[in-house]
């Protein structure tokens, strides 16, 4: 018996009790026949005086079912919406909003009729609220909190206070507030585990918070049934069954090795225990991580409130993926035997828009290994084709490479293991803030005359945010209230705040350079970091627009932080400076109001990390170490990158095609390209295709066995296009 049926059964009893009391004059009489779902209509329970509050909600519709006319007569004036010939005919029309108790007429329908009941409206609102959460990815905490409080108050006013305590009963507010609190904190708690960078757990969490919305579930399963809630409930159950049950059983059979019939009672227990431990570890890590995350969030909010955390926005990248990305971190198979080489694939994407600034990416991979009681990260081989364990890529344009991470046989002990793919790279982020200046006297005169200078000069972006280029670090800049008045007769103190904010799931490993550019008519008078004014060089000068720039010193100077102090930043780092205007006429030129820019450029090294998991099982035959005979029995399998075809390549761009061969045995293999580029490459597992002319091509991988029979062939269609083609 399910929870809802238990509640429902209790509700039926309450309805009968109500009916009984009605017959004694307090409440309406029972309808001629019972509820269709009510299986316990024969017995009455006069001793039961009052149902629990938890269940009375369920009984609202039962009260209508048991005596709709009476209910309408009793409650409709409060609700303010009851109409009804219900009192005599029993055809109660009306209800809380629109609709109501067909119950009496139908002899006890639980489904309230009409267009919408207040429960329907509550349910629709809850679903809209959940849609908002999904859209904002549960991130907008302030708005979420406010909406959930408002929702609780709404539910209290229109549902709980009416049927649990009476209109305005403040005690009845506790329950909806509690539900809202759960709805607020559960996603917050679950999301806190996101920061642990546990990829598959992230997916699970995203699934849970998306498919188990607290308020809609409470309304659908814990409140009286309406037509809408009934259909939504059925749809929801079907959705869950269809979505999860097959994969659930597959997962169980997979995890418990049912398909290989290797499962014994103890085996199941061991595996279960392992999974419990692993899950417990995640939960522990999540819980342990919450204070840190809350502290971080609180710190950020406090810094923002006191003005030491500056916000901005990221430039529209027009769907260009700029920076370095690790994607598709996947093992070639989810389960490895202990004597297998564990292979994990990852795609490394790099794109920079500055051809003069090369990015150097060092990719490494690490596996979690238990050494004694400690879980340590041990390095795998990210470049099996060379002696170096690091995969190094240098690019000044756009590259897409596949990384193969190999861990030798017996590297891992048994059980689920996390494997991390790291990429450290140098990158540059530039940010600019549009700033408005005008003559201080004129500004004051306009303000005294009630004139907004922005309106006067048709400026719509009155408080423009700083805009930074795409990348792993957001550079946010903030200055004084605009327009900033400048004067020759009185000094004007201008604040310049800069925040380096970690935008990706990694960390700023170290800062290599931070440069501030302000108009030459201005000067930095103070900074809380060690900045110095230097002559600009090359592109920094922007065709003579700047003569000098401000650069942060490498080391701490006079107690003020230098470059060396900005490292391992996982959150944010702020810098505050003060400026003054040396030459007002030069700054303003001929203009009554001028817009100019503050610019900040940061060069830094960033560390990116992505993770996947594998399961290490005991070697076939229980062997300790590589069993040649077992290896022989296994057939060669091939995993390809890229996985899809056709592939678009720009002229001059190198595109890598690669294959991972598990259990290669004695096969021989090679690559061939046809079309705009004709060439062959034998005995390599990866092939870099590039062409200097546009057109169609075909890249083919083929493998043959020792006796000359073709065992594998894979072909990709390649379209070589001009630069600038999207």
């Amino acid at each position: 018996m399910g929870f809802s049926s238990l509640i429902y059964k209790f509700g039926s009893k309450f309805a009968r009790k109500k009916a009984a009391s009605a017959s004694s004059g307090d409440e309406p009489a029972d309808p001629p026949s019972g509820d269709a779902d009510d299986t316990d209509t024969s017995s009455d329970e006069p001793k039961e005086k009052k149902p629990g509050k938890l269940r009375r909600a369920w009984n609202w519709s039962k009260r209508k079912a048991a005596g709709g006319a009476g209910w309408v007569a009793d409650k409709a004036p409060e609700a303010g919406g009851a109409l009804g010939s219900a009192a005599k005919g029993g055809a109660a029309v009306g209800g809380v909003i629109i609709g109501g108790g067909r119950a009496a007429l139908g002899g006890g329908w639980r489904v309230t009729k009409g267009l919408f009941t207040s429960i329907d409206i509550l349910l629709i609102t809850a679903l809209l609220l959940h849609a908002y959460d999904l859209k904002t990815y549960f991130e907008n905490l302030q708005t979420r909190g406010l909406l959930l409080i408002l929702f609780a108050v709404y539910a209290w006013l229109f549902i709980y206070s009416k049927y649990e305590g009476g209109f305005g009963d403040i005690k009845a507010l506790i329950k909806p507030l509690g539900i809202s609190a759960v709805a607020f904190f559960v996603p917050l708690f679950l999301r806190s585990t996101f920061f642990l960078n546990i990829t598959h757990l992230n997916d699970l969490i995203a699934t849970i918070i998306s498919l188990a919305p607290i308020w809609p579930l409470v309304i659908m399963f814990g409140m009286p049934t309406t037509r809408l809630s009934k259909w939504l409930r059925i749809s929801y159950i079907i959705l869950i069954l269809l979505a999860f049950v097959p994969s659930f059983w597959y997962s169980i059979s997979n995890d418990f090795n049912i398909q290989t019939m290797r499962v014994g009672g103890f085996g199941v227990m061991y595996d279960t225990w392992d999974n419990v431990k692993k899950g417990g570890g995640y939960v522990y890590d999540s819980v342990a991580g919450i204070p840190g995350q809350l502290k971080k969030t609180a710190e950020k909010q406090i810094q923002y409130a006191v003005g030491d955390y500056y916000t901005g926005q990221v430039e529209d990248s027009k769907n260009q993926q700029i920076g370095v990305y690790i994607e598709n971190v996947e093992p070639v198979t989810a389960d490895f035997y202990a004597d297998d080489t564990v292979i994990v694939w990852a795609t490394l994407l790099a794109k920079t828009l500055d051809p003069e600034k090369q990015i150097e990416i060092k990719a490494t991979c690490w596996g979690e290994k238990r050494i004694g009681d400690e879980l340590k990260k041990e390095q795998g081989d990210a470049d099996p084709s060379s002696d170096n364990k690091e995969f190094v890529l240098q690019t000044a344009r756009e590259e897409e490479r596949y990384i193969t991470c190999e861990f030798p046989p017996k590297f891992f002990d048994m059980g689920p293991k996390n494997i991390f793919v790291d990429a450290d790279f140098n990158f540059q982020t530039m940010s600019y803030l549009k700033t408005y200046f005008m003559n201080l006297e004129t500004l004051r005169a306009m303000k005294r005359s009630g004139i907004d200078p922005f309106d006067q000069y048709k400026i719509t972006d009155k408080n423009p945010p700083s805009v930074c280029t795409n990348g792993p670090i957001n550079l946010n800049i903030k200055t004084s209230e605009m327009p900033i008045g400048v004067s020759t007769s009185e000094p004007v103190d201008i604040k310049l705040g800069i925040t380096l904010e970690n935008a990706w799931q990694g960390k700023l490993k170290k800062a290599n350079d931070i440069t501030i550019k302000i108009p030459d008519a201005m000067e930095i008078t103070y900074c809380d970091h060690a900045f110095e004014k230097v002559s600009c060089t090359g592109d920094e000068c922007e065709d003579g627009k700047y003569i000098s720039v401000y650069k942060i010193k490498k080391q701490k100077t006079g107690g003020k932080m230098g470059l060396d102090d900005i490292k391992e930043v996982a959150g944010y780092h702020s810098i505050a400076c003060r400026l003054k205007v040396n030459d007002m006429n030069r700054l303003l030129g001929n203009y009554p109001l001028i817009s100019t820019f503050f610019k900040v450029t940061a060069d830094y090294e960033y560390g990116l990390e992505k993770m996947t998991s594998v399961n290490i099982k005991e070697a076939l035959g229980g062997g300790k170490g590589t069993d040649a005979a077992t290896q022989q029995q296994k057939a060669a399998s091939f995993t390809y990158r890229p996985t899809s075809s056709p592939v678009t390549v720009k002229i001059g761009q190198q595109k890598e095609f690669s294959v991972t061969i598990t259990n290669p045995g004695s096969i021989s293999y090679g690559w061939q390209s046809q079309g705009v580029k004709e060439e062959t490459w034998p005995d390599v597992t990866s092939y870099a295709f590039s062409s200097d002319k546009a057109g169609d091509a075909k890249v083919i991988f083929s493998a043959i066995s020792s006796n000359g029979t073709k065992v594998e062939e894979k072909a990709w269609d390649v379209k070589v296009v001009e630069e600038g083609t999207t």
Binding site: Q320, I322, L353, N439, Q456, K458
Partner: protein, 351 residues
């Protein structure tokens, strides 16, 4: 004989016909000539001093374009900014200033296409400002002068890691302008009806709507005549006019002497802003310039609601025995005016 008589009567008929036709033509000419002279003249007078627009400004279509796409790295992308100026008011702009404002980190003004156009002259070497003159509506040109000017602007190269920018271009015009309002008023010197003569008119307040061909509009004139407390038989009355004015445009009104400052970074003081100067007020040969009026204030500060000034004819000028008569009151206001147009541009570079 018969033939002769017949010819004579035919000749007479033709002569009469020609005479009649000539008379008809002359009459037609006279009628059309008179009406042709009178009617349009009346219409033009009415049309010139109406409306609340002085200078109308707009960017020409696609100049500047809404989207600018930079084609290559380190390359400037030239484009044009075209500004149309039309003097829709009833006053000639003699020394207007037009200031083109671009975001200097994104764009650079390369120069104006003046093409020997006498209406525009570049001001200073920096190239962002031109002076202009445009005649307003008149009997000769009832629509006012219209002209346009182009500036060559370069979009500067993008920063290396940058792809998109949003920027704006603004054009600000500053010019001196004048509003001339005229209205028929009744000067009733016998305010207390002491003279037993029938009055030809009675003093009443005048409402003016639709403007007078400039952004500053005279909306209402309260007319009253104040008897002066004098000894002797010859007593005088002082007609008093309370003139209500307002800024009907969306620009900035400022002191008429600060036109150049308004289009520059120079100081504008509080007393310069929203200030209209009363240049003259006159009727029946009595004027402020002629010293017949006492007006307060001469420099009128617009505060946005019930902005007015009061003018009163000085004591001893108009005798109470003059009686009541209708006359035309003219009010001339002078001011500086500044207005801005702007256009947002989306700039991107092709990668």
């Amino acid at each position: 004989m018969k033939m002769r008589n017949r010819n004579r009567s035919e000749t007479r008929f033709v002569m009469r016909s020609v005479l009649a036709l000539s008379l008809i033509c002359m009459a037609a000419l006279l009628i059309s000539g008179c009406s042709g002279l009178k009617r349009p003249s009346k219409d033009i007078t009415v049309q010139i001093h109406t409306g609340t627009t002085g200078l109308a400004m707009s960017f020409l279509k696609n100049a500047p374009p809404s989207d600018i796409q930079a084609t290559g790295e380190n390359q400037r992308t030239p484009f044009q900014v075209g500004i149309s100026l039309e003097n829709k008011g009833a006053y000639d702009i003699k020394d207007g200033h037009l200031l083109l404002s671009v975001e200097r980190n994104y764009m650079e003004i390369m120069g104006w296409q003046l093409n020997d156009n006498e209406r525009f002259t570049q001001v200073g070497a920096s190239g962002e400002k031109v002076s202009f003159k445009l005649k307003g509506r008149s009997d000769i040109n009832p629509t006012g002068e219209i002209d346009s000017i182009f500036a060559n602007v370069d979009a500067l190269p993008f920063e290396k890691q940058s792809i998109t920018r949003s920027a704006s271009i603004r054009a600000t015009a500053c010019y001196g302008y004048q509003t001339l309002a005229s209205a028929s008023v009744c000067i009733d010197t016998d305010a207390y009806n002491l003279n037993p003569i029938d009055k030809s008119c009675t003093a009443k307040d005048i409402s003016l709507s639709g403007g007078q061909g400039g952004p500053i509009s005279v909306d209402k004139i309260d007319v009253s005549v104040l008897p002066n407390n004098e000894e002797g038989e010859e007593k005088s009355a002082s007609p008093q006019f309370v003139v209500h004015i307002s800024n009907k445009g969306d620009g900035l009104v400022f002191n008429k002497d600060k036109v150049s400052d308004a289009c520059s970074s120079a100081n504008l003081k509080t007393e310069d802003i929203n200030t209209v100067t009363l240049d003259d007020i006159s009727f029946s040969g009595y004027s402020l310039k002629g010293g017949y009026f006492e007006c307060s204030p001469i420099q009128i500060r617009l505060r946005g609601q019930d902005d007015k000034f009061v003018c009163k004819v000085k004591k001893g000028i108009i005798n109470t025995k003059t009686g009541a008569y209708s006359t035309t009151l003219e009010v001339v206001l002078e001011y500086g005016y500044s207005q801005t147009i702007s256009k947002d541009l989306a700039m991107s570079r092709i990668i």
